[in-house]
Symmetry: C3
Subunit: 340 residues, 3 copies
Amino acid sequence: MTMPMRRLPRSPVVEFGDNILRGIGQVMLQNNPISGLLFLAGLFVSSWQAGVYALFGTAVATATARLLGAPAASVSSGLYGFNGALTGIGLATFLHHDLTLLAYVAIATMSVTVVTAAIQDSIGAKGYPLTGPFIVTTWIFIGGVYAFAGVLNAALDSPHLPKSPPSVHVPLGLGDIVTTVLKGVAQVMLQENVWTGALFLTGIAVGSRITAAAALIGSIVALALAWALGARPDLIRAGIYGFNAVLTAMALGGVFFLLHPRIIVVTVIAVCFSTILYGSLAAILRPMGLPALTAPFVITVWLCLLARASLPRLGELSPTAPGTPEENLRTTRPSASNQT
Amino acid sequence: MTMPMRRLPRSPVVEFGDNILRGIGQVMLQNNPISGLLFLAGLFVSSWQAGVYALFGTAVATATARLLGAPAASVSSGLYGFNGALTGIGLATFLHHDLTLLAYVAIATMSVTVVTAAIQDSIGAKGYPLTGPFIVTTWIFIGGVYAFAGVLNAALDSPHLPKSPPSVHVPLGLGDIVTTVLKGVAQVMLQENVWTGALFLTGIAVGSRITAAAALIGSIVALALAWALGARPDLIRAGIYGFNAVLTAMALGGVFFLLHPRIIVVTVIAVCFSTILYGSLAAILRPMGLPALTAPFVITVWLCLLARASLPRLGELSPTAPGTPEENLRTTRPSASNQT
Amino acid sequence: MTMPMRRLPRSPVVEFGDNILRGIGQVMLQNNPISGLLFLAGLFVSSWQAGVYALFGTAVATATARLLGAPAASVSSGLYGFNGALTGIGLATFLHHDLTLLAYVAIATMSVTVVTAAIQDSIGAKGYPLTGPFIVTTWIFIGGVYAFAGVLNAALDSPHLPKSPPSVHVPLGLGDIVTTVLKGVAQVMLQENVWTGALFLTGIAVGSRITAAAALIGSIVALALAWALGARPDLIRAGIYGFNAVLTAMALGGVFFLLHPRIIVVTVIAVCFSTILYGSLAAILRPMGLPALTAPFVITVWLCLLARASLPRLGELSPTAPGTPEENLRTTRPSASNQT
């Protein structure tokens, strides 16, 4: 019941393909290859470069993990692959494709496997690296662009000191709302495309309808808050304020914590926190030339997981985390589960 | 003997009021409501906004801790409240009061309780979060100002790159010394007011005369060192170089370490270190638009507490920490205590 | 056999001199006084100020460790001294010598001992602080320069935002290669001098020929990679891209990991990672006015040591770390060892 797909004995090539698709699926917390395939389709709809580098990054990170002796269960459920996928997409978004970039991404995605293992060991068996390894590795290799710009071909915003933008409160039309909410989902993998967002949402729903609903609600709450706080309308419209909220809502709303009325309230507040944290981190990191990426999501979820020991009513940990909310609920209610 | 005040059974309202006053008292390491009341008076003398936001922040943080099931002893001794008080004051100092700010501070002071629990759990049972949760939360919500300036009304210095100021060595008059030393104490809660400093010092002396003496000595040592190193005279006069030294002197000089001639030498050196660290951190964080707050104090005390295992002669840990130095000395010398 | 030098009973002065020379030796992972003496000679060849401040920093840090009760074995093998040596050299490199600097360095090198103990206790018995304490302490005291420039006399580059330099790919001549490789070794102690590099290399070879070979290979790989990535030729020629690679190659190539064909591949990739990380960190930290120092080395080695638990085929930990590669190999092959 905790296995989303039956696994038959199969050839190493099929096995490796399955690892890669699950790796891409895990970017949105989905441990199944169909979700991974839909996410990949979403990437290619937006940019062939994003799709190719996602595949390349996942493959290099997964192969490195195997070569260095990582536990087979972690590798085959995609836990080493998804940070490789994101690192590949991230570098391909901020740099132009050529052979130098391919070599640069190869070193980065080999490194991300070591960073994943190091973070895993630092935070202990009960913690989750989440997208932390992607963030650390991408920051390092984006920072390198300023030193190696003679060869690397960057498309980065100019670093600048934090400054207060003029007071703008341009109204967003009703039509904007649907596209913004979907772009918020697409931006989890750094894409600004409505159809990508729709495919991502479909891929999530294949694994868990609850998580898909959480993603939607997270994107809507973030849009409303960013608008109410007067954030830059162009950034809101591009979905920039949405992706950390989407990830936070999915992670807290049923995956790492057991679904329950109280955790829904906590999740909504955490989504607000992660949205403010995005605005804050983006400004704070700008002078260093670094994007905030999904750091607000990781920080928010880590804070909630760590705080739980002292604040037990924050929520109950899921028994099969990071399984789907549906699995978690079934496992906790054995009698109901037995009846089905 | 370890209880500063007898506790009778009382109504939830009185209990909550007591929690809040102890919370404000804990900003200066005093677990008693009289100290808290004097600190609150000091805040109102300087700025009604500081007083109101301190009460609001303490109340929200304390209520959140109760709702989320924090241990009753921690809540009632004010350990969840004081970071809420500081976060409220901090945001009210850097932003102008209006209803948006109130909502923003409400989210921040709910968050600070989760951050407190997360830091507590990360550093283990023997560590102390000190004002770390205030620092992290206030940095996040001040950083947010650069993204949400359309709505939030900031009074922040412009971020700028570190630069070497011209060599100025304006002599401070004797009259400046008394006011500067008192302002150093007042700046612990971000106020620049002599009477506030005097009320704070009185509030500390209510709990412990030794700690009040440590605060004074810390402020004097910092003033002397900052002057000798040629720091900006306007910052020295405003007490800016004093508050981390005051906190460091109070914490190391009898509260977390047992009072002893050697720890006095260590404390004076640590006060010098925290003063230099303040100048350093203020410069390093300026490009990101962030103030140093009490980070130098937290870093200095954490370094000393962590180093103790390898450097045992650094000092002996207090048996009732964070009790008052007087309690700690009594507890360690049972025979002397029995005779009184 | 694990003792590089026989230790006879001797006077406290000789003992303290031995501690200091081993402290300087440990900068390059050599626990023997002859290496320390050769390193010291290398420093004086480049700059008397570097030599004097290295001695002063090692002496203050070692004396502080003794006074505060550090374990005798750690003190006498130089583990408290080498971060003091580097802190002294570092501050003397970025600031001009006068009596104020001497006092400033005295506080810094007392502090570095407490920082060493604190890092040691944070990372646990199996971790190594490496040059982490030097980095933290030097950042703090360099940051202070921007606040205390009225008195301290700095020779720091102006802080600036990361920017992409123009595409330059000036060819390095064959003659440049030898001098650059040696300067890469000299820059481990912040010197840009060929003879210093040669003396350092000799000092390393006294302790271990394998480590000397690793240092050379590290410097060559870094030169090749930095050149291929189009880094600034003046920085390459000064050895700036070499020193983190040299340290990483020495540490991973036989000292902390047991020498083995696989670890050689891992080390070469890690050397590439640390070289890219240097370029990145130097850019990211520039707005704050801070140099990258040896942080890329520390981060790279910590990542590899931490990752080992999940990635066992990364390499086998050395049994006598941080002993020499030769000792480690002998200890692991007892039969071979018995025959000699």
